[in-house]
């Protein structure tokens, strides 16, 4: 009994070879049950994870808009079209996020009701169009791009599941119609269609590191545009152009073409035309700058040289005459100051066709302008170039160039004789670089100086008196040309312009204004010439921009003026010259 009792209490122990087999079986049992229980624990944990923890997170995502995109800001910045800023960093063009509305016709519940509600929100859409779109077969159709937040909330309030939004970028031009011809515009998909927007489309839509900086100064641009539109309105012109350029490096501070347009909705096809760079015109007397400079550069003649301007000039079947013939022979300064066509034609003849032609070519007047925008006009050059072409080109007829080309060429002479390349892109490297080694000299510094004197004389004593601004030593040249209608020059349709430079003793800026088809007013005594139409506008522009740019006014007495040495070549009231040759 006691043995048995002991046996019952004690565990059964099997000794020998059987024992190890039993142990192994038990071990396996434990291992398997451990694995299974671990698996169940894992499954239980995963269920808790999925149902409670992840589920809540997912709800949270839905509430937040369903995006948990690990977005990199820098990457996103590259998706956005780059900004365009002016030289002071003022935004000219930027892209802002907006929501665009699209529909999935397949899941629209009530197309008719939705169309009706949409017409109420967007009065510019028609019910029929919308209904056709909403009942279409596709799975995607745009309803309206770039909504305002208010419109978006109204649509959300409709609760139509088939209407969804897509975030898009809209091109915004904060300065409005300030410089649309240079900046350009884009289509609704953000592709540049004109101006810098088109020529720098790859940069702006691609890997841009920083905004594209232009040489335009918004303040100067405003001054130019204001005075240009005022001059056009005052003389009832049909259009015009204007530019302000730094004559030392060709940077364009302001460039305008009128009529202007709103880059947000470029609809008016006439206004899209850039009169400054794309239009080519016979510029008229402003071309006398080139014939006079060529004469001073190539022919060693004195300022007192007299040109016979008493009789109209006859060459073959051509006849060149002056608007206001003088009763005495004119000296070089007088020809320039009084803008004598005969005198300038004679100057061109003295220089000769070959040299005049190569001079124009050097100045870039015979080939299209080089500028960073695509809207560039090709000059109309006489072909074949006969000797008479040289004579007419000397006073700006028979050759048509873009106005900016003329301003650039004139600036290249006035700045000391170095050829300029106009630019609208502000290049910081170029600004830091001192004089470029590849510079091309057009005229000698002596010729440049004499041209400065002549241009100053036009403003102090000649046709450009209206452009003078006390203290800023303005110089310049008027230009009035007749437009060709049906192959004939029409004296009532003119192109009046003025190209001014200041301060004349060390020119910094060129200011140009041109008005297309101005009509004379009472105030201008019926005149619609460059001196009456464009010169006052240039004067006003200079008066307003000079203090902004920190140009110091100096008040020099008339005897010490730059043009004073030329006054002795000007005839007195009886038509006699002080010094005669």
């Amino acid at each position: 009994m006691s043995d048995l009792m002991r046996y019952g209490k004690k565990k059964l122990r099997i000794e020998g070879s059987r024992r190890s087999a039993l142990d192994m079986a038990r071990g396996r049992l434990v291992l398997i049950s451990a694995i299974f229980s671990l698996a169940y624990i894992l499954i239980a944990a995963r269920v808790v994870d999925l149902s409670l923890i992840q589920g809540q997170l997912a709800n949270y995502h839905v509430a937040r808009g369903g995006q948990s995109v690990p977005f990199n800001l820098a990457d996103e910045e590259k998706l956005r079209r780059g900004d365009i800023v002016d030289r002071n960093g003022v935004l000219l063009a930027t892209s802002l996020e907006t929501e665009s509305l699209f529909a999935d016709p397949k899941i629209i519940i009530d197309p008719a009701g939705a169309a009706e509600a949409l017409v109420k929100i967007f009065p510019d859409l028609t019910y029929g169009d919308l209904l056709r779109k909403l009942q279409g077969n596709g799975r995607f159709t745009w309803i309206k791009r770039n909504l305002t937040p208010t419109e978006q909330s109204l649509i959300l309030a409709l609760g139509e599941p088939g209407l969804s939004f897509k975030t898009e970028y809209k091109r915004i031009y904060p300065q409005g119609d300030m410089a649309p011809h240079i900046v350009g515009f884009t289509n609704v998909d953000g592709k540049g269609l004109a101006g810098v927007e088109r020529s720098f489309d790859d940069y702006l839509s691609g890997d841009h590191v920083k905004p594209l900086q232009l040489t335009i100064d918004t303040r100067i641009q405003h001054i130019l545009l204001e005075n240009l539109t005022e001059a056009i309105a005052l003389f009832d012109g049909i259009g015009g152009a204007g530019v302000v350029m730094d004559v030392r490096n060709g940077e364009i501070l302001a460039a305008a073409s009128a009529p202007i347009f709103d880059p947000h909705s470029p609809k008016n096809k006439d206004a899209l035309f850039n009169h400054l760079t794309l239009g080519v015109y016979e510029m008229g007397s402003t071309f006398k700058i080139f014939s006079t400079a060529a004469l001073l550069e190539y022919e060693n003649i004195s300022m007192g040289h007299e040109f016979n301007t008493l009789e109209p000039l006859k060459r073959g079947r051509f006849r060149i005459s002056d608007y206001h013939p003088e009763k005495h022979k004119l000296t070089t300064p007088e020809v320039f100051m009084l803008s004598s066509n005969i005198g300038s034609a004679l100057m061109g003849e003295m220089v000769g066709t070959e040299r005049m032609k190569s001079f124009y070519a050097d100045l870039g007047l015979l080939s299209p302008l080089e500028l960073e925008i695509g809207e560039i006009g090709k000059p109309l050059v006489p072909s074949p170039w006969r000797d008479i072409s040289t004579l007419t080109a000397s006073y700006g007829h028979g050759i048509a160039v873009a106005p900016l080309q003329m301003v650039t060429a004139a600036s290249s002479i006035i700045n000391g004789g170095i050829l300029l390349k106009p630019t609208v892109i502000l290049d910081e490297n170029a600004a830091n670089k001192s004089q470029d080694s590849t510079e091309l000299r057009i005229v000698s510094p002596q010729t440049a100086h004499r041209m400065r004197q002549l241009l100053r004389l036009v403003v102090t004593d000649g046709t450009g008196k209206n452009a003078d601004v006390e203290g800023y030593r303005v110089g310049g040249k008027t230009g009035t040309s007749e437009k060709i209608v049906n192959g004939k020059y029409v004296s009532s349709k003119r192109l009046s312009s003025f190209v001014g430079f200041f301060p004349m003793d060390a020119p910094r800026y060129a200011v140009f204004v041109m008005v297309d088809e101005p009509k004379g007013t009472k105030k201008s005594f019926g005149y619609a010439t460059g001196g009456w139409v464009a010169a006052p506008a240039v004067g006003n522009i200079i008066g307003a921009m000079a203090p902004l740019l920190g140009v110091q006014p100096t008040h020099v007495p008339k005897e010490e003026d730059l043009a004073a040495p030329l006054r002795r070549y000007i005839a007195d009231k009886e038509g006699k010259h002080l010094v005669s040759y």
Partner: protein
């Protein structure tokens, strides 16, 4: 083999602990990732907002608008060349209005340390710019006044 050997128990506990730790870590990572996404989203929106504000700022600072505001509210005009002073000597002296002060004014006097010539010069330089003499009051001495008062008091 014992079923509940200490080592087995320990290793199961370790496994459970490790599993729990792993689970917690993964949860934490997910939470952090979510927070990161939220922050990125917030900063993205902030950047977009700043962009809108910047565009609006430049829109409101259009030269034509500023010009209209100035002409409407400030009565200012375009700067004429005659109004610009180019020589510093032509700058007019500011009008110094010195109201008679109620309180006596004391000025720090230069302390002479043996009277070197340098100090004399400095003294002159300091005096030079003061163009309008400030009103000088009769010097008042508190102790004197007090003494006077005391005397008067004693007399009475």
């Amino acid at each position: 083999m014992k079923l509940f050997k200490v080592s087995v128990l320990l290793s199961i506990a370790a496994a459970v602990f490790a599993g729990a730790l792993l689970f917690m870590t993964s949860q934490k990572v997910q939470q952090q990732e979510d927070r990161l996404a939220a922050l990125r989203n917030a900063s993205r929106q902030e950047v977009a907002h700043i962009r809108v504000l910047r565009a609006e700022w430049d829109y409101l600072n259009r030269p034509d608008r500023l010009e209209k505001l100035v002409s409407d509210h400030m009565g200012m005009d375009v700067v004429e060349s005659g109004a610009v002073i180019t020589d510093v000597n032509h700058v007019p002296e500011p009008l110094m209005i010195a109201p008679p002060s109620r309180k006596p004014q004391f000025f720090a006097q230069p302390v002479s340390m043996g009277g070197s010539s340098d100090e004399d010069e400095q003294e002159q330089n300091i005096d030079a710019p003061t163009t309008t003499p400030l009103p000088v009051r009769e010097e008042q001495n508190f102790n004197k006044l007090l003494g006077k008062l005391k005397k008067g008091g004693a007399d009475e």
